[in-house]
Every structure is written in C-alpha cells, then in structure tokens.
Symmetry: D2
Subunit: 503 residues, 4 copies
C-alpha cells in the first residue's frame, strides 16, 4: 500500500549539520598514506568541515619532549608530526576540531592506558607543564596557520572523562578543564573551548555538575560537547562484538534531554551543542557498521538530530583505526564510512545523500525526508531498517508524492543502497571473505560498492509532478529531481522514432 | 521459456581478435587533449593493440613541405607532429596501423577532396616524390622508434580506392600500390604491407583484380585489407542520416566470401585478412551508433568474425571526429565507442566484455557465447537486438546453463547494458538533450553510462554449477564466474546470523 | 666599476601589469594537449589573468554553420569547441580576452586569407549575419559562464585592420566596429568593447580617425587597443627571418604617443590602453625569440611600460603556433615563452621574475629595478642586452646597493639567465640541433632551461644591508631578499663548528 | 696543477652494485605518506632493486596475534599491514630484502627493547612459535606475490646480534639462525637465507664462529651479511652526536678482511657478501649525514666497494626515521638520502651519479673514476673530502683527461654538488634553521637542493676529446659526455651569426 503525499513547496529550514564534523582514528594515523587517501575520497564526495580524533598529545605524535641538559630535564616541543598532520588536513579542506589529550608519558601521573595503541589516561603529574604544553601548541598553531584560521578550530578538553578514558575523578576533570580553558583564553580570547566530552554514562549528573562548576567558578565554556551511541550490551566472541541497537529515537531523546539541561544554565543556554562522537555501536569490531541496516538506521538520526544539536560527528570516517588492534580483515565491523582499500560502506552513502539534501524541509516522517533547494531541485531521502536477527523482514515502504512543478520537465535520478547494491560487505562475503585483497578483488569491491542508479524524465501535469519512492527493508534511497530545459526542438531534424528506441 | 544448456568444459579455441585494432579520426586529431583522454580511457579499460586512421600525409600533420631555395622548390619533411602523435600512441600502449594517405596538396595532381577536413584524394603528381616521402617517413620512424618496433606496424596503402576516396582508376591504384609496396620493402624487407583497403562496393572484381595484379607483377603483399559496413540506403534529414541495417550475418558472409577468393591465390592464401574498418552504419551522424541496439548488434559480429579474419577494427574509438564537421551535440550519431566528455556508449561495453572473454569457446549460438579460461573462470556474453522502428520488441532470451565445477564455490558477477542502464544517450535525452555539457551534467552522464552490476555466490552441486542468463531486447549481458576459496571457517568466531542479514 | 646606490625604503607604486594578459596561437590550437600542458605550466609559474588570440570565428573552431533546410540555408551555431576551449581556460585560471575574428567562410565576402592556417580576412558578406553571430556567441557565453564572469572579459573587434589582416578599408573597419560594438552593448551594456587593434603602421592617422569616428557617431568604446613590435626590416632566408631590433625605448615612445593622442579625446582620455600584442620581432621564425638577448630586452620594456599602458600582452605564451606552418624544429625562432616539449625559454624568466616584483618601486634605471613588498621582501631585477652581430659584447654592469634593514638577518636568493644558464637553445645547439626530441633529450633540455641559482645569508649592519648585483651582457638577473628569523639559538646544543663547514 | 690523464677506451668491468639495496626505517613507517613519497622520488631518480629495514615482526606491523579461545591462547597472523607495505614496495619497483626481527611482545622472553620505538630484542620464549610465524609469513608471501617473485627476496636472520640488538649470547643467535634457516628451506628450498648480520664489533670472532657453526651443523647459508660504519667515538651534546670519521679505506679494508675469512670456508667461499648496512656515522643525529663532505666521502666507498661485496646498502634512503625519536628539525643529522619535505641531501647525488656510471671502468684513483658505456657515453665522477674541523681546506683537485673519440662531436654535461650548490642544509641555515617548513620554504629548499649544472660542445681532434674536471674540497662532480650527431647542416638556411650569440 502506498502512502499518498500531496506536498506544497512551502517548507521550513532543514537543520542539517551532516557535514559539520567527522571522527577519525588517533592523530598519529593521519600520517598514513591509506588514511590520507580515504580522507581525500571522503572530502571529494562528502566534504566535512571539521575532523576530530584522539591522541594529539600521545607519544606517537611526540609533541612533548624532555631531554637532559646540564643534569636537569629540559622541555621542548616537537611539532614535526603535528604540522604534517594539520597540513594534510588543510590540504584536504578539513579543519581540526581539536581534542586535547591524552597524556604524554613524560607528563603522566600513572601508567594506566587505553586501547591497543596505549593512550595514557592519567592526569598530568604537573598541571603547570600541561598548561605550558597546551599554550605552546596553540601558539605554534597560530604562528603557522594564522590567528584568523585557528580561532575557527573548536577545542575540546579531553575525551569521555566519565568512563575509563580518565583515570581521575570528576573533580579532577573539572580541575583539568578549568586550567586548560583559562590557558586557551590566555593564548587568545577568541579561541573556542568546550566540554565535558562525556559519553552516555551518568550523563545528567555530569552535565549539571559541569555547568554548575563553570558557572560558579566563572570558567570559560563556548560549546557543550558530548557523545551518543545507541548499542545495547555486547556479546564478545573472539575478535567480534555482537550487539543489538536501541531505536534511533534513543539518541534524539538524549539530545533533547541535553538541550533541556543546558536551558537551565545561563552560561550555556545559547551555546551550541556538539555531539563530538556518535554511531550505532561504540565498538570497532561490531558487524553492524558494515551493513545497509546501519545506513538506514543512521539516516533516521540525521533526519532530525540537527533540530537539537549543531554538530554530530560520526565516529569515524575510515577503517584506518587501531583501538582494538590492526584490522584483521577488510570487513571486520570497523567504524569507518570507508573500509580499507578505499571501499565505501553503505553508511558512506547516508552521509553523501544527506550532504545533498535541500535547505528547505517540505516533509519528514519516520522513513523519509522531502527537501528542496532554491534552484528548484527536490531531494528525497528514504530509509527503512530492521534488525533481521528476529528472522523477520519489513514490507517495503512506498510513497506516491505529488510536488509543485515550476517547469514543464524534470530529470529524476535515483540511487539505492541495500541488498545487491552498494553493499560491499556482501560482495566480500561472496568473494569468500578474503582478509586482504588482491588488486583485482579491490577493483571488484569498489565497483560493487556503488549504489544502484537509474534516471528518468518526469513531465509536469497541471503544475505538479508525481514521483514514487519504494524503500525495501534495510535499504536507503535517494531521488533527486532537477528542473530541465528540453532542447529537442532545436534539433529540427530530430526524428525520435528513428533513434532506435530512444525516448 | 528458458533454453536449457548442459555444457561440458571441453571447447575449442575462441578466435577472438576484438582488441587487435581500432579505428580513429584523422591523425591530426590525435594532437587534441580530448582525443588523448579518450584514448587513455579506452586503453585502460579495453587495451587495443593497434590504431588505424586517415590523414597521415595530410597538411594538418604537415609532413611534406616544399620551400623555395635558390629559385627552385626544395623538399623537406616535417616530423614534428608525426612524432608527437606516435609518441602519444606508444605512451598509451597502442601501435600505429599505418595507412598511407591522403595526398599533401603540394604533391597532389588535382583538387578533389573528401570530408569537412578536406583530405585531397588525387593521385600524386609525381610518383617519385610520393615514394621518397614514404621512404623518408618510414626511415625516420625506424630511427626514432627502432627497427624491431616498427616492423610490427602493418602498413596499408591508401583507403577505399574503390569509391570517392581515390580520384584515380583501379589501375592507377595498382600503380600506387606497387611503387609504394616496393618502396616499403626497400626500406626494410620485414616491414609488412597490405591492401587494397576497399569497402564493400564492387568487391569481388577488386579483390580478384588486385590479387592477379600482385601475382602477375610479383608485387609484395603481406596481408589483405578491406572494410565492412552493414547499413542499407540512407535517409538524410538535416544533420542526421537515418538508416536500417542488414543482419550481422551480412558481414560474416562478406568475410567468408573474401576468404574464399583469397584461397584461390597462392600469394594470399595463407595471409591474414584484416578488416581495417567495420561498423553498423558507415555514417558519423547516424543515431544507431549511440544505442544499446548497436551494442548487441556488434556483439553478434564479434562472436564469429574471428573465424574468418585476423583483425576487425571498429570504426572508431572516439567521437573526436570531424568527417562531417564538428559534432553539434554530445550525442549525434558519431562512430565513437566513447562520446565527447569521455562518456562510454553501449558499444564500448561490447568491446570491454569481449576483451574479457575466455580463450576457450564452449558454446555459441545467435545470442550467446560461453567461454572459459585456464584459471577456471567462465565468461558468458549474451545479446539480443531488434530494430524497434517496426513498433515491435523481442521477448527476452533466457538460458539456464549447467557448467562443470572444479571448485565448491564460485563468485558470479553480471553486467547489463540496455534500457535504463549503460545507456547514456537515453540519460542525455532525459536531461533535455543539451548540446554541450556543464561539469555537473558530464558527471551525471558518466555515472549513467555504467552498466547495471550485481554479484552473487554460486555453490557447486554434484560437480556442476547452474547459472541463468536473461537477455532483454536490445540488451547486452556479461556474466563472469570465478572460482573462490571460501575462508569463512578461518574466522572461527564468525556467526553469520549476527551480521544483520549478510549471507 | 660598480655603481653605488644608497637607497631609502620609500618608493612609489610600481605600475606592473606583467601578468595581465598574454598572447596565444589561434583558438583552435587550444584544443591540443601540448598547448594545454604549456598553458598549465605557464599559469603555475607566472599566472596570467587573460589570454588573447586569433581565430575565434574561424572554421576550425566552427561556430558558424549553415545547412540546407527546405531548400534554404539554415544558420546555426556550434559551440562544441568554443566551450571546450573556454572551459580549459577557466580550469587554468585564465580568462579569455576575446578578439572577434576572423571571418567564417560561409559569411565571407571574399577569399583572401592570411597564414598557413588560412584565416579569412574579408569583411562579412552580410553584416546582419555577423552581428547575429556575435550576439549569439556572447549570449551563449553568458548562459554558460554567468554574466558576472563574462562582463570581465574584454572584447576587441578584429585584429590589425590597418594591414593585411583586413581586406577592407579603414571606413569598412569602422563600420564593422560600430555594428559590433552596438551589438555587444545590446547583449549586455556592461560588456567591455575596444579597438582599433592596429599595429604600428600609419598609427597616428588610424588613432585620430578612430577616436573621431567613435566620438562623432557616439559609438561605444571602453578601452583602446593596439600592438607594438620593435623589429626593423627582415631578411628572409629559407625558413628563417633575420632581423635587427630598435631599442626598447622605441616601444615606450609609441606608448607615450598613443597616450598623448588619447588625451585629446574625451571619450578615451580616462580609458585603459591595452597593448594586445607586443614582442621584439613580429615574425614567428626569427631567432631572437629564443635568446637571452630577448629576455633582457623585454625586461627593459616591462620595467616601464606600465606607466603608460594598463596591459601589454606578450605575443605569445607558447610555440604551439602555426602562422608560418608547423614548427620544423624545437627551436625555430617561435614567439613562445615556452618551446615545444615544454621547455621554458629565457624570456619565460623575464615574465616570471617581473611577476615577483614588489609593488613599490624604489629605484629604476636602464639596467635595473629595485622593488619592495609590504612584508619587507626586496626584489631586484637586472638586465643587459646587446645585439652581438657587431662582434662586440658589453662589459658587465655592476651595482653595490645599500638598503634599509628592518631585521637583523636576511636570506638572499639570486637567479641568473644567460650564457650557460637558463639558455635552452644553446643546449639544444650543443646537442646537435635535433628537430624533434627523444625523451632523454627533452629531459636534458628541461634541466638545462633552469636559471643558475644560489643563496646566502645577509646580515644587517647599522640598520642597513648591502647587496651586489653583477649583470653580464645578454643576461637577466633577479635577487630576492627576504627577512629571516634566525632560530639557531633554540638549538642550544648546536655547535656550528661540528657541522662540517655549515655556516 | 692539473693531473694529465691520457686514457685508452679499454677498461675492465666496473663492479658497481650501488643500486642493489638501500636501507629504511622500520617497516611500520612504510605505511606513511611522507615515506612513500620519498621512496617514489628515490626510485624515480636512482632506482634501487631491494630495500631492507628492521621491525617486520614488531607489534606496529602486528603480524603475530594471540587471542583467547575457549580459555586458551589462540595464535593467528595478521597480514593487513604487511601486505600493504609490500604492495607499496612492489608498486615502487623495489623488492623486500627481508630481515627477520625483532620479537613480538607476545613471543618475547623478556622486556629489553631498543630505540624510541621500542623493538623487543629478546630471544623467542618458544622457538616453535617463532618458527611457525616465520613459515606462516613466508607461505603467505608466496601465496600473495608468487613463488617466482618471492625466491628473489633474500632473507636475513635478525640484526646485529653481536651488540645490543640481541639480548642473547652468540650461541643463542646461532640457535635462532639454525632453526630459522631450516624453516625457510622447508617452505621452499630456493628461498635464500643469510647472516650473521653483525656490525663491526668482535667481527673476526663472530665470522669464524658463525661459518664453523654452519659448516659443522650443515646449516643452510646462501649469502654472508654484515654492516660497516666508519665513525670514531661520539661526543653527545643534547640531541646531537658529534663524531669524526675514519678514512673510507677503513671500510674497504673491512670488506677485504671479511672476504678473506669467507675464503677459508668452503660453504661461503663462492657466496655473495652483502653489506646490509653502511654509512659514515651510525648515529641518526650526527650532522655529517647532511653535508657535501659526506657525499664525497661516500663516493670514495662506492668507487671500490663492488670489488669485494655484491651489495652495500646505504643506511637509509629517507629521514622518515624514528630510532632516536621523531626528527626535531628538517635537518638534524638523519641518515636519509632525502630529508623530510622530500629534499635531497648531497649524498643523494652520490647515489644518483654512481647509478649513471658506465659499466666499463677506464680509470680510477683516490678522487675520480672514469667509466664508459657501450653506446659510447663517458661518465666521470670526481670527489674530494676533508673534515674541516681542523680549520683547513684542501686545494681543488684538477684533471685534464684525454679520451678516445668515436664521433666528431660530443655533448658534455656537468653537475656539481657542494658549497653553494646542491647543499640544502646550508640553505636551510641561511633561512634561519626553521624546524618545520612552510610551503614557500619547502619550495626554496627543493630548488636549492639541485646541483649546479652546465653543458657544452666538445669537438674531437685527432680522434680524441679532452675534458677538464676540477673538484673543490668537499664537492662531488659528475661529467657525462655523449656522442652527438650534429644536424646543423640540414638547416641549410641556418646562419649562426644571426642567432644572437648562439654557438
């Protein structure tokens, strides 16, 4: 049964921050060629404005250095890799969304680390040295990239201090935040600082406490940052983590709740809310990330999240990532929009499609948005997701949509992701699940990763055009409809019936 | 109704010369950037061995030069453009199939020209000067590219002397051929020379006469060359030529006839037959060239032509072409495999698909070939064509094919051209038939030009695999079936049902 | 003997329009790959704003087309090549400086042509058809590239109507100018039109007559255009033209004279003067163009021309050029800044060096300019030229220049063209004067074409720095002096004497 | 005073293995973009056949993995990074010279590590697991790259077991060598294995003991490997190590001695000797590596080493290197032929020049080699080095060399490195010693890094040509002399005196 929609062209602004920011594996990985190729690819096709990841101060980037001089430790800062990484970002038209962390070993108060790559999560042994490092780094960045540029780079203090990423208490985090925020403003009062960068554990307590702390101590805060994941308890089997998901409305509710808490505090009421990480599962070996299910699931989030947050940074753009070790196979459940060998996953298209959405929202429900641009283009994005582990599948969702026409003729192009199309993990399975790929296999997978695509003419009738959209279970669909000038008449000798079936 | 085919793996060699040679617009166009981009694209995807076109000696390439010295004409040769063109070819891994012609104005005996670009088709005013030019050119090529290389470049004398491309008589052509062939052998006896390069007019008379002439006068001939087109009488309307086609068997019959005549003469009985031009229509503004009909129609030719000829050179690889003037629109009925803006046409895929055929032919009928490679890959190519101007369409042709399996598991990938897929001219029509393209339109057309593609797993049963092929009217289909090592078991913790529908 | 210059940092604006415009071979050549590679190279290194050449309306670009329809001629316009050419220009960040000409054969009133490539120079047979073509072309350009862009493209009517480029009289040119200028303004009043595009023959008469004509008939004119060459009578020997040159002051005087005449007419007094062609010799087979003499000679022009003209377009950027036929050897006396195989000639560096001049002119004489930028960089360019055919050579010109220092330390880098350096034609002669190049030879010549280059530290003393410049005969020299922050002290352990001679 | 050399064209084969192998920072660094760019650059210009470095089995490459399965450790191998690295090598036309080491943490018997990047140097806790890993890795490589390819990759067991790179005794190394060598031969008897990979400490004892051990136990050995450095005791100051050098004859003597010991043992007498590492200093922060001194010093080694060893692998091709931490400045005394930002150092040219040496050695002394090719090209390389810390400098070494001429005319091209030319570290010092570079600075340094270059004609006289070579202290010079066909006469109208000084 088709839903009938008779839409007017009058909509409201579509709050769409889909290209604002994207997550990345640790900074040190940005030195890699494969990483850079993925980033270039993603920027060419989607074009994010900012990129955020961990590890700026870790020893593989190596900023903080101590050597002995005259028998005493002598501190200096090594920006060789930092400059190379940020140069790469700028070349790719993406700006750093700076996350200050984790702890250089020489500055650390303890040994606790996180991840395969062993990020030290302990508080600084000496807060003055930490502050000096922060200030030296920012000062260096301003010298190299210019003040006008660097004040556009938001700065977040640490990552998820409410769980194992921080070996200190809540108060210790507040101490870190305070001295860091003040240091940042000392370097330049126009630099933007935010926190508390928490994930969804004990959230309300942390938010209230943090806002009170900032308010009571007059600590600078320019934006509120937090994370949202939508996975239930994990089942760990070997290298894999298997999980079920909450509904995407879970995340929308979290955003609403955060915004409501913010509204209770003058200091943040009018500030931006940045979701500096989000995804379905929070685990980089959970199969969900490679699936069309995820593409449709995330689409639902993107359709509404912008009403509550000004940034939601998908964690992450690429499977060049090492938190749980080096990927043991091309498809392994990694976070990336792009798998290794530069193969786009279904969710890559969720971001590509939403980056093409019009700036006016004409219609939205649980499965579709209808948007429009000033130049008369319509952009429809549909999705349907269902976890098939219950052995069931959803019926296709079908729409017949009538839209106002300003032109006599339109060009409609549709792209479909799901099933046999744009589903590279399935093709990889068909190929026998090779761990690494030959050139030939990589080529096959790149081809396979493309959506189904077809186009057609649409003629207006009585000032309206009519389009269908059919969305199968665990599929993502986009239809763009462009107004067209038909020039057939300028070919006066053009006899369509002589064109072997051309329409 | 499906045809059932139970095939054994035992076939015969597939005589497949699809990548041997391809045609090109006049040599001077090879200087152009757009031409070079198309050539690179075609070589990357198909990889022809040779390229043949007109105009080597025309004044836009400018080899023959006369200036005044001490009051008398002084001849010299200018290889500036020739070297640039042939350097480009070599860089693109394609060798010249040299056609000697047409006539430099300063050497011509008359004014008659052919084409928008005005190739002079008159015999030389002075045969000695012609011979000198031929020898100087070949000598120069040997110096520049090395003898071992240049003796691999076949040399054809003139083009279609049996119609308006030659202002002389048959005897005058034989005179030209004789002095040219002898000159070539003087430069190096291992250089290969051939003719008579005729098209399908008065063919039998020309072939007999030519072979007798060579035999009786002991004139060198290393290969026989001729052309084959399959179009009926044209209807000319404005810039377009509308034509109906003979059946492809028309061309196969021409090849057989030619081979039979060759068999009557010792001097050519064991020589190669090179079809140095072929296509459906011989006119560069005939819409047929842009259609899926043509893709299927040409496929039928390619399925069998190699049994009778050792080369059949599709005329031409690119729409960078000016015989009837500068193309007035992206799609205009040009010969090219690739339209301007580097958009592959349906027939491009006919060549790409046949370039992937296996070297063993297991089965062939009027709609399909089934081939196999030593590495166990099967390659099936199917086609179905019908001129829809009678208002009819053919029913799909369907096969169920059983093939011997050497492995337990296979990977099958299918590509379909026709209808909504791989049919860029239709998308161009949907876009309103723009004459030139914006960047955005060019992008859309490049995407649209790709075939439909999908893949699947195939499991062997009782040492056999079973595959279906369904071929709609005016469609071209290829299915490749690769043996696969399934590695799923090496992921001991891999629980398929946890993979959200992955199969 | 050294000239001693004690300079203050206070200068005047340097009127430097060196990168405003550059000349090109006919439009049709812009389709070529070699042409495009040269253009990209020149734009990367020098970066011109506009490009101007002949042949927009010639039949190889093929805009004007007539076919028969219902027994009558039917006119249409083919923008296939025009769009490709202008797309290429825009991609290379260079804008068309449109020259309207020559005459499509189908529109021509006669057969007279010019050049190897046979540009028809006769007036239109039908001025209405000419005007229609101009309007259709401009309208198309506005549709494709946008009005805001196209109104930045100056439009010149015809080329050198005062000599053999125009088969009509002066009055007939004025007629052409008038109807064309009015047509342009009809398309958009903000489009800029200019003329009379004359060369230096009967100049004063033409200028006065043209300005009077425009004034008396109220004909639009937005800028005055003319050409300047500096060669004396030619001696023609075979393919070469040998010429002596006037002094560059000859051109400067021409500019002054033109400006003085302009000052006598209200309609052009405040308008820009565009030298839409200039060079030493006006002949594309005159050896002077390949020499270091020319580099120094043109430098003298560039040092002052901007005081009188707002554009001076060197004729031409590349040896991809066919006015006297296809180049018969790499070095052949062509106009280009870049020889074939993308080898920069000495004069290439004249333009590169002047493109780096500072915007403030501190000192200028017959052999040198001293300029400065806001960021404290000094840029000195020196030259010395002498035609050595009198068997003499000039002594080096030497300067010792004292400049105010704002920093304690400077970095000085010098580039020298002439003699053994940056003189590819000499290396080509050393290689035996090959007509076309092997890859190896092309590599050698590209390396050879680079200037001598060295750098050094300069320390300020009493707030001043002192630099030497020595300019040998037929050499061009540039010295750039950058202020530097010395960071040696931040390497506390750096012991210079341990660095094996590092200073 | 010039040395006069009258040379005949008769020489002996020049044993020149300069391009056989080159060293690299640890394998994991090969994932980096900067590393890959340097490698591509070096391969384009020099073209090494093999590359050798540490860290194949370290945890950043991550081959060896243990996870828990059913409560027990389950071993698997992760070739994700290994394949990527070796794919890159193959793409760059360089083959791995495999060094088996160091120890994965999960396999290690202890905690001892070496370098900033902490390579574990302890013997395996379980030799069976080590052997399994070696065999699995080689088996995988053969599957991926093919047996015919992989048997061309020499395999060396461990690195410098005679010093701190091995936490075991000599006997323990022999044990490791034996089980590893046998495992290799089990995988494929045609795989090549070698050792003992020692540096110059206790050399004679190690060589004798190792050869005896292999002989007595019938252990496979296909080539002998060792290292050679030429530095005296270091003085460590902050981040720098200052050292004086032995004379290069020190290394030549080491090679002779090694060869003499090899000659005493049947099992290695006819085997190749591979110097798998060599350089002046063995320390990556010793300024010598950045200097023209080093370029000349290493030239002396290259002129003779091939008489005693079949491979000598310069340690290393690039400053992408981390043994003593992340480089703290562009020039910091790193081993690389290429500094960061892809700036070639003087010693880069030593390798480039020697890669162009002819295969016939006509003359050799302490400062020069004269070589010749079959095509008649002469190649002369000269050098002169002196450690200037004694405040002295050597006089230039000058030669006047007479060589047999087969042609009437030659083309001579000379390149000079030293002083103001090809000395990027000096330019970097002139720029103020910036730690990281702006784009502009990187460009300046790349330009500065090029040698001085000039060319000239050389005319034969009495069947001989005469060339000069002048070599200043701490300079490197190459002169190539090519036979030339002078074509001036084919330009009959060419009047040299009209060419403005062209010779």
């Amino acid at each position: 049964m088709k839903k009938q929609l008779q839409l007017s062209s009058k909509g409201k602004p579509f709050n769409n921050y889909v290209t604002h920011c994207v997550g990345t594996g640790r900074m040190g990985l940005a030195l890699q060629k494969e990483y850079q190729e993925h980033l270039k690819f993603v920027q060419d096709k989607i074009g994010f404005s900012y990129i955020r990841g961990h590890g700026l101060f870790c020893d593989d980037v190596g900023i903080y250095q101590e050597i002995e001089k005259d028998g005493k430790p002598f501190v200096y800062y090594n920006f060789t890799y930092l400059d190379r990484i940020f140069d790469y970002y700028i070349e790719n038209n993406i700006r750093p969304y700076i996350e200050l962390g984790f702890m250089p070993k020489a500055l650390a108060s303890g040994d606790r680390t996180i991840f395969y790559w062993k990020g030290n999560v302990t508080p600084p042994a000496d807060y003055n040295k930490w502050v000096d490092m922060v200030k030296a780094t920012l000062t260096h960045l301003i010298e190299r990239y210019g003040r006008d540029e660097v004040i556009k780079w938001p700065i977040e203090v640490w990552n998820e201090p409410n769980i194992g990423f921080w070996a200190g208490t809540m108060d210790e985090y507040f101490k870190l935040y305070e001295c860091t925020a003040r240091a940042i403003k000392e370097v330049d009062p126009d630099l933007k600082v935010g926190g508390p960068a928490i994930c969804g554990v004990d959230t309300e307590n942390w938010l209230h406490s943090f806002f009170k702390f900032c308010r009571d101590n007059n600590v600078p805060i320019d934006m509120v940052t937090r994370h949202c994941y939508m996975a239930k308890q994990p089942k760990i089997v070997g290298r894999y983590v298997y999980q079920e998901m909450f509904d995407p409305s879970y995340m929308i509710d979290e955003l609403k709740m955060t915004r409501e808490i913010m509204d209770q505090y003058d200091i943040v009421r009018d500030k931006e809310l940045h979701i500096t990480e989000f995804n379905s599962s929070y685990d980089p070996v959970c199969p969900v990330h490679d699936t069309p299910f995820n593409a449709a699931f995330i689409a639902r989030v993107l359709s509404e999240a912008g009403d509550y947050a000004q940034s939601y940074s998908y964690w992450t753009f690429s499977d060049v990532f090492e938190e749980k070790g080096i990927p043991a196979a091309v498809f392994h459940g990694g976070f990336g929009l792009v798998a290794n060998y530069m193969i786009p996953k279904p969710t890559f298209y969720t971001f590509e499609f939403f980056s093409k959405a019009g700036n006016e929202l004409i219609y939205r429900d649980e499965n579709i948005i209808v948007t429009k641009d000033k130049d008369g283009r319509y952009c429809l994005i549909g999705w349907s997701y269902h976890d098939p582990r219950d052995g069931k599948t959803l019926d296709p969702v079908s729409y017949e949509i009538t839209l106002p026409a300003e032109k006599a003729q339109y060009f409609s192009v549709t792209k479909v992701v799901g099933g046999k199309y744009g589903n590279a993990a399935q093709t990889w399975s068909n190929l026998g699940k090779p761990r690494t790929l030959t050139k030939k296999q990589a080529e096959i997978l790149k081809e396979a990763a493309k959506p189904l695509r077809y186009d057609s003419k649409v003629f207006a009738k009585d000032g309206k055009i009519s389009v269908n959209m059919d969305i199968e279970c665990n599929h993502l669909v986009m239809t763009e409809i462009f107004p067209v000038n038909d020039m057939t008449d300028t070919y006066w000798e053009f006899d369509t019936k002589e064109f072997y079936g051309l329409e």
